[in-house]
């Protein structure tokens, strides 16, 4: 095993150690649990830093991989399940992202979760989450991927339901897990297809088999299907349409958890899965992926406009940005999609932590003024926080600029690259809808993000007394914010602030060779890259225009107050209700899927109790009926005959008892006479 790989293994296992330690000895550590967890993650982060730097500065771009046989079926056809880990450039970058965010969230939680009822459990769960997420990053096969995939689902479930006394939190956790299971169902079907055809689940083996022309069930249609089925897992985990409904509800969890799991890492796992399966995706599969991404980006951006809960806004913006990434990968902008994952992880984690900082401060202030009814997360009750929370304000501005795609930020680089990709895609396939949605959503994003900024930080706080008690958060909470703000600048990704294409990132995460047959392959990487160059300036111009338009509109509405948002709402009340209610997806699913399932369950339970068991009991009843009838028959007919015989005998007895004198001698006479008679007869 290569030494970097050994280190990766250590990186993988350290958070698990943290989990085991805290789950068993959490009571002992109690107050110190947070420090224990954070310290372990700190070490882990340093290790990762070393590994990632080593890996990314290595010029050979070699992929380190190690497998061992986990289960050997010893059958006549060689059949075994190899598991293992691997480390390539994409993995190294991802390791870095996961551990940076995880470590900073650990740090942030020291302040945010202080005094929580289940403080040690919280850190334990963060540990197991980090472990499973690292597992997804490092695995080299679908089986282990699926295992860790479900494990992150578990930790997400546990953390969303951290405050499970609240029914909404418990419901949200359950919803997240089950919705993810729906996606995983598809993922598992994909795995079954691959296992059937290749008797192996390792990426390498499957891709090389496909490259050698061995297609699932011998048809490229099945290859597309396999890709789509596996993508189903990503749809669930990355909250893509139509399974996006769980993510906004998942905001019931503590805010640092939202930052770690539901903004930066776990939801990006779906995108990472597409990255990993990219070589085997056919043009058709990619097109479906691109459309799913575009539709998701559009729907959630429109919903985000009409929300008032700060975390809900961020949640929908997350879904929208995830849609962007998926769309980017779908159109073939592999590096851009992945880069957007990375940049988004930083600024979105930052946004969530900043919102956590605000919510924390609001809670504090509300507590001081003895107000227990006002929702601490509703932006309508905020306003004017700029002066009170300067660090939070300025970092949040950076994040918002980044997500809106303003130059000099990381977000600009990646978003621009994705949009250029959509234009190039349009050139090759004529799917005009995708770039249209892409640019439109870019404008929407800028609009709703700045709407939030202006409402929260500018204007007047509508209760001056309460504002008095709003304070900046402690240092454990601001340091992560500043760090995230720092890595939201372009320089970390590319030295050219206007193009990601020349930076190290694109060099190191170049699109892998597609293995699918020529006929069903998307445009070749070279041709695509060339077209990208052509479209670059157009894309940049358009995206800048859209961002500017969005910001301008937000300023007109919420800063300069030239227009009243309320009037717009009043003008289109139906549209607003529709958006405010999230396109009624929850209601739809509740009415169809949930109620349908429960209805079927009740029906089948009734069927089981009444019909199936009824037949059984009916058989028993019938048997008893036969028994009763035969009992009666026995009593009346059979026993009747017996009784009649007895009666008959008794009658004769009466007759014959005359000759029974009771005297032995009489009997002897009878015997003698009888003997003589017999003698006479048989003489």
């Amino acid at each position: 095993m290569h030494s970097l790989l050994t280190l990766s293994l250590a990186i993988l296992l350290l958070p698990l150690f943290s989990f085991v330690l805290l789950i068993f000895f959490g009571k002992k550590f109690y107050e110190k649990s947070g420090h224990v967890g954070t310290a372990i993650l700190g070490i882990d982060f340093l290790l990762t830093f070393y590994v990632a730097i080593q890996k990314l500065t290595d010029t050979t771009n070699e992929v380190f991989s190690y497998s061992f046989t986990w289960v050997d079926f010893h059958s006549t056809i060689p059949l075994k399940l190899d598991l293992g880990i691997m480390l390539d450039n994409v993995g190294a970058v991802m390791l870095m992202v996961v551990l940076l965010v995880s470590f900073l969230v650990h740090l942030f939680s020291l302040g945010y979760m202080k005094g929580d009822v289940r403080y040690s459990k919280y850190y334990a769960y963060l540990g197991i989450f980090t472990f499973s997420m690292l597992g997804i990053v490092l695995t080299n096969n679908f089986f282990l991927m699926y295992m860790f995939w479900e494990l992150v689902g578990l930790s997400s479930y546990l953390l969303i339901g951290h405050w499970y006394e609240k029914k909404s939190a418990a419901d949200a956790g359950k919803k997240a897990f089950i919705t993810n299971r729906v996606g995983d169902f598809g993922f598992f079907i994909g795995i079954m297809i691959l296992w059937f055809n290749y008797s192996s689940l390792s990426f390498d083996h499957i891709y090389s088999s496909i490259a050698h022309g061995i297609l699932p069930f011998g048809s490229s249609g099945w290859l597309t299907a396999a890709g789509i089925f596996i993508f189903c897992g990503a749809v669930g985990k990355s909250a893509q349409f139509p399974l996006h409904v769980w993510l906004p509800d998942a905001m019931e969890g503590p805010t640092p958890v939202s930052a770690l799991i539901h903004a930066a890492t776990m939801v990006a796992a779906g995108v990472y899965l597409v990255v990993r399966t990219f070589p085997m995706l056919t043009a058709d599969a990619l097109m479906i992926i691109a459309y799913i991404g575009a539709v998701t980006a559009f729907i959630s951006a429109t919903i985000a406009i009409a929300q008032y809960d700060i975390k809900k806004i961020l949640a929908y913006s997350t879904i929208s940005q995830l849609g962007y990434m998926v769309m980017g990968l779908g159109v073939g902008s592999y590096s851009a999609g992945f880069m957007h994952l990375v940049t988004h992880a930083a600024f979105k984690a930052g946004l969530f932590l900043a919102s956590g900082s605000i919510i924390h401060a609001m809670h504090h202030a509300l507590h001081h003024v003895n107000d227990h009814h006002t929702d601490a997360q509703d932006i309508r009750f905020m306003g004017g926080l700029r002066k009170k929370m300067p660090i939070t304000f300025w970092t949040m501005i950076v994040f918002t600029l980044a997500i809106s795609g303003v130059p000099l930020t990381s977000g600009f680089l990646s978003k621009d690259a994705i949009l250029a990709g959509t234009l190039a895609y349009n050139h090759f396939t004529g799917q005009t809808l995708i770039p249209l949605i892409g640019f439109f959503v870019a404008g929407l994003t800028a609009f709703y993000m700045f709407r939030m900024i202006f409402i929260v930080f500018f204007g007047e706080h509508h209760d001056a007394h309460r504002l008095e008690h709003v304070h900046e958060s402690p240092r454990t909470m601001t340091i992560p914010l500043i760090t995230f703000a720092a890595v939201s600048f372009f320089a970390f990704y590319s030295f050219n602030p206007f193009s990601a294409g020349d930076g190290w990132f694109f060099q190191k995460t170049a699109v892998p060779e597609s293995v699918v047959p020529q006929a069903v392959r998307a445009a070749s990487a070279e041709a695509f890259g060339e077209e990208l160059h052509h479209q670059h300036y157009l894309a940049m111009g358009l995206s800048l225009t859209m961002a500017a338009l969005g910001i301008l509109t937000a300023m007109l509405f919420y800063y300069w107050k030239k227009f009243s948002a309320d009037k717009v709402v009043a003008a289109v009340p139906r549209l607003f209700t529709f958006l405010n209610n999230k396109w009624y997806f929850d209601e739809l699913y509740q009415k169809t899927a949930v109620n349908g399932t429960i209805g079927i369950a009740k029906l089948l339970a009734w069927f089981d109790a009444k019909i199936i068991d009824g037949i059984v009991n009916g058989a028993a009843w019938l048997t008893r009926l036969v028994a009763v009838i035969s009992g009666k028959f026995d009593h009346i007919v059979v026993d009747g005959i017996v009784n009649f015989t007895a009666y008959f005998t008794g009658f004769f007895g009466l007759v014959f008892r005359r000759i029974q004198t009771g005297k032995v001698q009489t009997y002897i006479i009878f015997a003698l006479v009888g003997a003589m008679v017999l003698f006479y007869v048989y003489r």
Binding site: T661, G662, V664, Q665, L672
Partner: protein
Amino acid sequence: MHITLTHYLLVSAALFSFGVFAVISKRNAIIVLMGIELILNSANINFLAFSRFGNLNMEGQMAAIFVIILAAAEAAIALAIVLNIFKRFNTVNVDEVSTLKD
């Protein structure tokens, strides 16, 4: 006079008849018992006679000895019964002992 099988049988039949007569007509249980003994002995005479005239070696004698033993046992038991009857009914008159009828 040459004694033939017929003579033996006649003696035996007479003995049997006396026995039967005693058993049937006498009221006293003891006499009834003695009648039974007569019947058994008539059978013994028959055994011996057939053994003597039928060239049956000693089998007749064997049967007779068996009957004698049996008679002895029977007499013992019967006397015990009679004793018990006497104790119970204070009589040995068989006519009065008719509980078998009930």
